[in-house]
């Protein structure tokens, strides 16, 4: 089997499981909407949202929901001991990593496709001002977050207290991604938009993604046991 074939087989497996149960999609989606709701209590003063609140709330809810999705995806593999089977199968480690990453990424993007309009609606964020740029920021930011997250969630699968260790490890390390995502999105949503700034943050996100994914690909083999 070719590399891409293996990646697709692994990703499709996760997507088929998800399409049948819809457990993760529904729970993460409603979780992220509740996060938006909780934040609105602190960042809406007298009916008006604080400056840049929409961008921050959007990214925080994505990060929270992503952590939840990552944890659950790998919990599924642990419960039925299928990660071991996956690791024993005669495929390259990077293919397994990328396969799992594609599954998580698609799930997170589906959630974002719903949460972003919700945030736009509730906080009067101009989603149509630079739609391509916004999508670019969301996709690259999510790719980096899911890339680091897939590595950590996979390696924590055999660890104790993994539920709490995942966010503890993930949030400080993904700080550059979140800053770039929030600042880029805020530059688009601002009353006086600055699209050049948003573009600069987007190119930074692409750079972060390249570095984080390369590192994750290199680290994944040794940590999962060769």
């Amino acid at each position: 089997m070719g590399f891409l074939n293996t990646v697709w087989t692994i990703a499709r497996k996760d997507l088929v499981i998800e399409a049948r149960s819809r457990e993760l999609a529904y729970t993460t989606l409603f979780f992220s909407v509740s996060v938006v709701l909780v934040f609105s209590f602190s960042f809406v003063v007298e009916g008006v949202a604080l400056t840049d609140a929409a961008a921050g709330i959007l990214w925080v809810s994505i990060a929270f929901a992503g952590t939840l999705a990552l944890g659950r995806t790998f919990e599924r593999e642990r419960q039925s001991d299928t990660l071991k089977a996956l690791l024993l199968s005669p495929v390259e480690r990077p293919a397994i990593y990328i396969g799992k990453l594609v599954g998580v990424l698609l799930l997170m993007l589906v959630v974002e496709a719903v949460v972003t309009p919700v945030v736009g609606l509730l906080f009067q964020a101009p989603l149509d001002r630079a739609p391509l740029l916004l999508v670019g920021l969301l996709v690259t930011g999510t790719l980096g977050f899911a890339g680091v997250g897939t590595l950590f969630a996979a390696m924590l699968i055999r660890a104790q207290s993994r539920d709490v260790l995942l966010p503890v490890l993930l949030y400080p390390i993904t700080v550059p991604l979140v800053i770039a995502g929030v600042r880029g999105t805020a530059a688009i949503f601002a009353a006086e938009p600055n699209l050049a700034v948003a573009q600069a943050w987007l190119s930074m996100l692409v750079f972060f993604d390249a570095v984080f994914l390369t590192l994750a690909l290199w680290v994944f083999g040794p940590v999962m046991g060769e």
Partner: protein
């Protein structure tokens, strides 16, 4: 083993003498015109920050070596260095706000250097939490965090830097007048010696722990 057991006390002794001398040198240095007395915290704050970043680098490199070669020695260096990042980082994060309270009028600013130091410190706290609570096999996982932690230092710094900066930059050291520079370098040397002594001591402890574990394992076989 013999040479190491002499080296550590010597390093500690020299560092102790230097630390005892340091307050007198700092006292003799001239007052900074705008900040006055509070500027003197700089002589301890900056060297501990330098040691913190150095230690993060040591941990990252050792983690990468451990991932590639699986040498237990590299792992011992990584865990010892990570603990010292947290210790020296605590010194930085305590002395910084004390200075900021006087110089800026507030305890904390979401400034580039402050935020990146805090994020770095949190990464290494999470490294230690992982080693403490993840159970068997956490060395490998921690090594991954160590590598990411080190690789992250410039990014965190860079991204926060674009975001905002009001902290005095590193040119401050070069712009110091000689009467201030001497105590500063003195303190930096003292902190580096202390760091070397602590790292070696912690490594010896880790070595003994590994020997003990091996002895237990042998007993059980």
């Amino acid at each position: 083993m013999q040479s190491r057991s002499i080296l550590v006390p010597v390093l500690l002794f020299v560092a102790a003498v230097m630390f005892l001398r340091a307050p007198f040198m700092i006292d003799a240095a001239p007052y900074e015109s705008t900040m006055g007395l509070i500027q003197r915290i700089f002589y301890f704050h900056v060297p501990s920050a330098m040691v913190m970043f150095l230690s993060a680098l040591v941990c990252g490199v050792a983690s990468a070596v451990y991932l590639a070669k699986r040498s237990p020695r590299a792992d011992a260096v990584a865990v010892s260095a990570a603990e010292l990042v947290v210790v020296f980082g605590l010194i930085v994060l305590v002395t910084g706000p004390i200075w900021a309270r006087k110089a800026w009028g507030i305890w904390w600013q979401w400034d580039a250097r402050l935020t990146s130091a805090l994020v770095l410190w949190l990464i290494f706290v999470s490294y230690l939490l992982l080693r403490r609570f993840a159970g068997a096999g956490s060395e490998m996982l921690a090594a991954a965090v160590g590598v990411f932690g080190m690789a992250n230092v410039p990014f965190v710094y860079w991204s926060v830097n674009v975001w905002r900066t009001i902290h005095p930059n590193t040119n401050v050291v070069a712009s110091l007048i000689p009467e201030m520079r001497v105590p500063f370098y003195w303190c930096t040397a003292a902190f580096l010696l202390l760091y070397a002594a602590l790292l070696l001591t912690r490594l010896r402890l880790e070595g003994s722990r590994m020997q003990l574990e091996a002895a237990y394992a042998e007993l059980e076989d």
